[in-house]
């Protein structure tokens, strides 16, 4: 599908618009993180502004294990087990943070979780144990040169390695899937499983209590729910999946840094994803992040083969570009000045327009338009062939 488009007459346009497979892998694991964020924030109404801590925990755990830096777990520990360990550490962390934070609500909750997260962030940045330069973050070293395997641990036939450079290639009928593509499907598998697990929770009695808490916590207490425990439980579940997402990220990228895992702006990205996708819709977050990434990539892929800038350059032709406007500014120069490296400007504009004109988010709006049952089935359907 992807390839056919690239070879078609509109290939320049396609190239400009379509995210690369590698971006899509990022959409998957970060989308999972955004989903886990939406799980707690969108359903209980408690904005977990420090969620990046769990993502970072998952990522660092995977790398530390691979580098043989976690006691008892050698570099050879199966990736799936590392994910689980990262998830469990995050659960413990979530419970510790939650014990204090859930005494608060509203913005205060958001801010105290942010506060905790920043404390962890500063700590991890200064912790020499994790990497020689903790500020730059750890990368998977020679002790684990092969790719991380997703699948049934121990059974090689049922496992495939992920990573652009380290992933397995798989021959399928006429074409072969590259390492990146294999990663896409394997990580997609894990993400899908996690999504269904969270979906399950939301539709369970427990999930209904989460919604009741969002709707009116005082009344939820008054009808007999110990909301504190429910919130803690939801937070722990959410933290677990956030850590799995972080683990997938580290497994694919083979590196992490405090800035791209523990930093509060990482939570910010998840927040954006879930609002764009539709707050409190779970799967929406994934689409939200896909949208966010596509826009960013479209605007910033300057000169890397796709994106708006090179497309404009090619479209307008050299003569138009060299034409002068005022003084010695050429059209090309102006385009460069306004576009090159200023993707954020346009991303920002897109956000503003989004909030004003698509208030319920992508999935929220879709559900509104299409009504209940179909919309329920839709995410799963779209997911299957979202590439």
């Amino acid at each position: 599908m992807y390839h056919t488009l690239l070879n078609s007459p509109v290939s320049a346009e396609t190239q400009m618009l379509l995210p690369t497979v590698e971006t899509m892998v990022g959409v998957l694991y970060f989308g999972l993180f955004a989903i886990s964020f939406d799980f707690i924030s969108g359903y209980t109404g408690y904005l977990s502004f420090g969620h990046a801590v769990f993502y970072g925990t998952g990522a660092y755990t995977v790398i530390l294990i691979a580098n043989g830096k976690l006691p008892l777990l050698g570099p050879g520990t199966p990736f799936m087990l590392s994910l689980l360990v990262g998830g469990l550490i995050a659960v413990v962390l979530a419970i510790l943070v939650g014990l204090v934070s859930f005494r608060l609500s509203g913005v205060y909750f958001a801010m105290i979780t942010l506060g905790f997260a920043q404390v962890f962030y500063v700590f991890v940045r200064g912790w020499d144990y994790v990497a020689t330069n903790p500020r730059d973050g750890p990368a998977v070293g020679p002790s684990h040169a092969e790719g991380f395997q997703i699948g049934a641990p121990g059974i090689d036939q049922l496992s495939l390695s992920i990573g652009v450079l380290t992933g397995d290639e798989v021959a399928l009928l006429e074409s072969t899937l590259s390492g990146t593509e294999v990663s896409y499907y394997m990580i997609g598998l894990v993400v899908l499983a996690c999504y269904f697990a969270m979906q399950r929770v939301i539709h369970s009695p427990f999930g209904r209590v989460m919604i009741a808490i969002r709707e009116n916590e005082e009344r939820a207490v008054a009808i007999g729910y110990n909301t504190y425990l429910y919130k803690l439980g939801a937070f722990a579940i959410s933290g677990f999946f956030a850590a799995v997402a972080g683990g997938l990220f580290a497994g694919f990228k083979r590196s992490a840094s405090p800035e791209n895992s523990f930093y509060f702006l990482v939570t910010g990205d998840a927040l954006l994803a879930s609002i764009i996708g539709g707050f409190g819709t779970l799967a929406g977050s994934l689409y939200g992040h896909l949208f966010d990434e596509t826009v960013r990539e479209f605007l910033s892929k300057a000169g890397q083969g796709g994106g708006l800038l090179p497309y404009l350059r090619a479209l307008l032709g050299q003569e138009t570009l060299d034409a002068t406007l005022v003084g010695d500014t050429t059209i090309g120069g102006l385009i460069d000045l306004l576009l090159n490296g200023h993707a954020s400007l346009y991303v920002g504009l897109v956000f503003v327009l989004f909030v004003l004109y698509v208030p319920d988010g992508l999935l929220g709006t879709l559900r509104e338009r299409l009504g209940g049952t179909f919309a329920e089935a839709l995410p799963a359907k779209l997911w299957g062939d979202s590439e």
Binding site: P205, F206, V209, I211, A212, N216, R219, I223, Y225
Partner: protein, 270 residues
Amino acid sequence: MLRTQGLTREFGGLTAVDSVDFELDAELCSLIGPNGAGKTTFFNLLTGTLSPTEGTVELRRDGAWQDITDASPHETASKGIHRSYQVTNVFPNSTVLENVRVAEQAHSDDATTFWRNVDHYDEFTERAHEILDRVGLSHRAEDLASTLSHGAKRKLEVAIALAGDPAILLLDEPNAGVSSESVDEIRALIEAVAEDYPVLLVEHNMDIVMGVSDRVVVLHQGAVIADGPPAEVRANPDVQSAYLGGYEPGSLDDDTTAAGSDRDSEEGTA
């Protein structure tokens, strides 16, 4: 079933509930008193929403008294003390059915189940429908609670309190804002549930209070000033002056300024 001893609650210098000794049996007991007498505060103390400055609250379960003074609201609720709120307090963006269903679910062991779909728990939904039938809201089951009219929300209040097989029902002005024709429905409803559960009712509509109650307790400035069968309480001169001496149709035609200033002094620090 439920008793308090010396129950007191102060807000700053104000004693909202003043050493109340009270016991509720399997009966329909009404709690009346002027505005600000401390009725809602008393409810809040019984349910653990507020903790008392002094005194105890005890609940009888399996024949033994159990101290629940320091229990939190969700604990009292799960011990079966259910309440409705004076100011509507529901889950606004959930459906009417879900409002009741989630309350019903609170009293099962399945509430913490996170791996099974709610649709597997038909019994909650069925019970919720029954309760909605009972309060006359079944035709609005699928509407969002926020779109109900005021009167309908009052009914939903009661429905939520009824969910989950209460041991004791505390109803805080279930009739406020309910139109006169529905008042009769609600009155019938109260009488019916009182057959099944002990009920403590706060109500300003004297027709209902006098009509349905087995017993009436009058609170004034936080303290109990009368306690007895309706007829006796109605006749009590203290109650008359503190509370009942109210609006009579036609009274507006006479100039009643004098009566007004009279009451001022009694209102005092309610």
